[in-house]
């Protein structure tokens, strides 16, 4: 307990770093996977290609990806951008499948009705298909958010600062409290983001709320 108060400032700084590394991959993952997922849903050729690539990408373990990425894109090995890019790739890989399936789940009758009442192709996607696909997308985003927050700490092994620093330094100093604080902080961030996603999802899909009666 004393240790926590004595190091509150440091813990707070690492928590902020952790949050700052977690947020961009989650947001970018969503931004990239929506159009790509729609593309995979729409055409047979793009479906095979996109889902195969994202499946392979998701198979690659995180630490090796952090190590190999600087060589592939020409960044410095200690640059936090490597962690952000790697986690964004995972987020896209994971969400792409969910988004594809979410668009698949929109019933053909609804699609045809929207065509019949005169929606343009773009309107049909943004105003009919996307809103109906949203609940499944939100569920996928929650999974992505939890795993991203957890994976950020692996970056500490290659010197990218986050709550994971508490794991490495706690281990080296033989001090379990420090590790437990790190785990607790990580779970708190994950919980907070999860809450935000659930609330955001609810706000976007008012028709899903149970009717008050």
């Amino acid at each position: 307990m004393e240790w926590i108060f004595a190091n509150a400032e440091n813990i707070w700084r690492l928590t902020r770093d952790h949050f700052a590394l977690s947020l961009p991959p989650i947001v970018l993952g969503l931004v990239f996977s929506l159009p790509l997922g729609w593309l995979a849903h729409r055409y047979r050729w793009s479906r095979g290609a996109l889902l195969t690539v994202s499946g392979l990408l998701y198979t690659i373990p995180s630490l090796p990806l952090f190590v190999i990425l600087p060589v592939l894109i020409g960044t410095k090995i200690l640059d936090p951008i490597n962690v952000v890019i790697a986690l964004t790739l995972y987020a896209v890989a994971l969400l792409l499948r969910t988004v594809t399936e979410a668009f698949d789940s929109v019933s053909p009758e609804v699609r045809q009705s929207s065509l019949a009442v005169g929606f343009s192709p773009l309107q049909r996607v943004t105003r009919v298909e996307l809103p109906l696909a949203l609940p499944i997308v939100v569920a996928g985003l929650r999974v992505v958010s939890a795993s991203t927050v957890s994976l950020v700490s692996v970056g500490s092994l290659i010197g990218v600062s986050s709550l994971g620093d508490l794991f490495t330094s706690g281990f080296q100093r033989d001090f379990p409290t420090e590790i437990m604080v790190g785990i607790g902080g990580t779970i708190l961030i994950a919980g907070l983001l999860d809450l935000l996603i659930v609330l955001g999802g609810r706000w976007c899909t008012p028709w899903m709320r149970p009717a008050r009666s």
Binding site: G74, A146, L151, F171, I179
Partner: protein, 242 residues
């Protein structure tokens, strides 16, 4: 540390690390590539096996009876947010150095995907099939072993597939604790800034992950009973329904 801005350095680095892997002195011996690969496979295989002993019967039970479904959902969700590095380092401090702590951490992480695979596999079986089996007089045990498990095999193996990949990835991270395996090359290279060695380790782990994924995909295809095509996505579902 390493700035990689010189033109062509990309290929140089990759080439250096591939040369590193195939240097005879790095291939053989107790700390060589083959030995580390063996360790990695041994840790991963052993922990998935231990996890399967616990998770598979439990998952089949949950799938067959429908009881405890909430437990599976809660467990997979809770463990997803648990940082693997935190779990590995904490167990290493609490249980001391040696193989026990990292292997226990790997086993814990392999349980949720195995549980989910077994449970989802049995649950995906058409109730008409198990109902028909019950109607012709099969016992519950016979229904489970002769109807549900064969039909659940693709998803069951799918659970092993994701558990094994999870464990291969975490075993790499666990080399920090320290554990043997291919992750050693990354952690041995890091303090002395031996980038070719780190890169060699990274490439070896990635190749191992991709190859094991392909092997499991093949097994999944082999165990799929004739006449059962796993619906791979909602579209396939929709096509079946229409």
């Amino acid at each position: 540390m390493y700035s990689l801005d010189a033109a062509g350095s990309l290929m140089n680095y990759l080439w250096d690390s591939i040369l590193w892997i195939f240097t005879p002195a790095h291939l053989s011996g107790p700390t060589g590539v083959w030995a580390r690969l063996g360790e990695h496979l041994f840790y991963s295989g052993l922990s998935v096996l231990c996890a399967a002993v616990i998770a598979t019967p439990l998952g089949l039970f949950i799938g067959h009876t429908g009881r405890g479904r909430a437990l599976v959902i809660w467990l997979t969700g809770a463990l997803r947010a648990l940082p693997t590095l935190g779990l590995v380092t904490l167990l290493a401090l609490l249980l001391g150095l040696g193989l026990l702590a990292p292997l226990l951490a790997l086993t814990v992480l392999a349980i949720p995907p195995l549980l989910a695979g077994a449970y989802a596999g049995v649950e995906s079986v058409d109730p008409a099939a198990s109902g028909a089996a019950r109607a012709v007089g099969m016992t519950e045990w016979q229904i489970l072993t002769r109807v549900e498990v064969p039909l659940a095999l693709p998803l069951l193996v799918g659970g092993f597939r994701s558990a094994f990949l999870q464990v291969v990835a975490t075993a790499t991270v666990a080399a920090f604790v320290p554990l043997g395996g291919l992750g050693r090359f990354i952690f041995d290279g890091l303090p002395v800034r031996d980038y070719p060695q780190m890169l060699a380790g990274a490439i070896l782990v990635i190749v191992l992950a991709l190859v094991s994924d392909a092997v499991f995909a093949l097994i999944q295809r082999i165990v799929t009973p004739r006449g059962v095509r796993v619906a791979r996505s909602g579209q396939d579902h929709a096509e079946i329904l229409r």
